[in-house]
Subunit: 218 residues, 4 copies
């Protein structure tokens, strides 16, 4: 990627943060998206900056240890979690993080979201797992994400008492997973309020996942 490509990624990241806001996945400054650029860097939201004030230039370029490589704004407080994911998952091109309401409610109870909807089989290929509680600022959150996703087809992971991290081939895919994670977290929650959702057979989950990953879209 060259300088110009980074410019486009910066524009896309502003737009993707706007999607988080419009999808009501974040309040105030509590959520962030990053995108890998080139082999050894990623761009991420600056810390504590209001979404409506984000500009392409405000996105912070970091190396894969999570350190900014240019003078300017400080990166998101979650930068080390993003960095850990990029170091250990070379297939990942984008990471998103939210405290979206329903997904975080499952995380507060330390419960995975069971796969009882066709839309959930499509995108997540099974349940959305919960990783451990971890403090911000080091490798603990990143390790929790990577280890929990290792046993799953899901691009989303809940972290206990915390919120949601999602990964994707691109930042847009990660944001899509964050949007759909909240959607299924909400629907399954509401279904369970008045009884038990019917289970889906694993074979059906597999067939739906395979079709959505390989046939759906243009």
């Amino acid at each position: 990627m060259n300088e110009t490509a980074y410019a486009q990624v910066r524009v896309d990241l502003v737009d993707l943060h706007r999607v988080l806001v419009q999808s009501e996945l974040v309040v105030w400054t509590a959520g962030n998206v990053s995108a890998k650029v080139g082999d050894g860097h990623f761009l991420i939201k600056p810390s504590g900056v209001a979404y409506e004030r984000l500009t392409p230039e405000s996105m912070v370029l970091c190396d894969l240890d999570g350190h900014p490589v240019e003078a300017g704004l400080k990166p998101s407080s979650d930068v080390f979690a993003h960095a850990y994911v990029y170091r250990h998952r070379p297939d990942v091109g984008g990471v998103a993080h939210t405290h979206s309401t329903y997904a975080t409610a499952w995380a507060a109870r330390n419960e995975p979201i069971p796969c009882v909807l066709t839309a959930m089989a499509d995108e997540f290929g099974g349940e959305i797992p919960v990783g451990p509680f971890a403090l911000i600022g080091g490798d603990d959150i990143g390790r929790g994400i990577v280890e929990t996703l290792a046993g799953s087809r899901s691009p989303a992971v809940l972290l206990r008492n915390h919120g949601v991290f999602t990964v994707g081939a691109s930042a847009r895919d990660a944001v899509k997973a964050a949007v759909m994670c909240e959607d299924v977290a909400r629907t399954v929650h509401i279904a369970r309020q008045l009884g038990e959702p019917l289970p889906m057979e694993q074979g059906d989950v597999d067939r739906l996942y395979d079709r959505y990953q390989n046939v759906y879209g243009q």
Copy 2:
């Protein structure tokens, strides 16, 4: 219908997909509307295209077997369900599909929505039924829709572990049914959270349905 009429239908379909978004019935690309044109074709949303990028030209013209009749974008992954409905219900001019939250929660539990609101009697003439679980990609979903609606006055049907399909004389009527389906699914759900809604007498349901279908509007 001629070429010009199709152009208007395409514009209307873009607008109706916008209604799905504004009514919060869909997230990302998970929902679609189609409209029958002429005797043997229908127009439908392209697969996996974001709602804000839909244009009149992007709508895909298909025959009643669900196959596109022009080069261009692939139709919605749900195209065969729409096609089945048009083949077996010549009175239907429009079909809508969503995973709207509350309706899908009833579907996840395999429960019909009981008719306990006057607005529900008006539009649905009784309970909103639930059809079987069916995999996407063939005639199974379409057959589930048509067979379940056969025993009902409702223009909406829930599909188990999946979501909602609605039908109407026009695409706009189908979207109206989708909007009202979610509205009553939500209100009845919330009513049941703190007790049991009072039942309505069948005679009253019949009188309300008759009046709304025959007197209401201009």
Copy 3:
């Protein structure tokens, strides 16, 4: 009032229907507002017209029996309920009707909303009562509204299995009551989901109501 005053009332009514939409109290065409003009007439929403298509000219002028006095659009299907209220409550200058979600959920269970919030004491002066089930099209709904409100300070009444009617000195006051009715219906519902709200003393309810009605505002 003269011709010019009616023009302003028509503009205000379009705006007040927009408030119903923005406050998420209505979907599709299911809600309406009217305003008394002069001693013997009122203006009301036309039947089945989408909110975004309402114009000042589309509002229907009716006499106090609910009959339109000009050629043009048909009035709201609820016109006879509005007319009954104006005939029996000369102090009322505006009426609003919605099926707003949480209020209608209380109505579906035939439960009044208990007064457990200071904001509810301010506006409603006590519980929001529930009136009887009644069919649309004659005097039954209007009579249910007037008789139920007779024993109450509340400008809002729930009708069993149906929805909400509110009254006010003006149409704007009626819409305000509809907005606040849904707000307190929602808050009290949510409070009760996890336990019992604490009761308020009648003396405190009286003091809050008196202050809000007589001191609040400009």
Copy 4:
């Protein structure tokens, strides 16, 4: 501060009331924000004025006893609560008040919101406490706020059967606390609907609070 500074504060206050509306923390006119200016005054919303009609000039300048110091609009009905807070908490530069739904639901049950989310530890440093029931119009509400916050790191306090008051170094900080209070009130409520959230260890709460207050942001 000089005349020009007040002009900017007035503009900011209009903007912050807009944030309350956009964050869905208030309906109609039920919520207000104030900002201290100079040592002995504060600016506050006028009573009963719709949010969309607020202008910088409409904000009411009051002394620390809550009395307006200029001819013009009457201040918010909650002015004496704001004044009491400023008199007893010289560190406070802004106060916000809402009846936001989920927080008010906890208040209706007289229950503090337990600290079971990292985002809650960040902003509130522990549970969000509940103060006593108090009538509007004198010092009682202000005293309830100040005394309840005295034993807490939280910038937010629930008042029984009433709503939320928040404080901050600036009006913007107070509004931020109001936004995050409703967000965590909602998430913890929803978590508890289907079980018990896992507790967090006090040491972790302390570490998160310390980091967020001292490291987060630019």
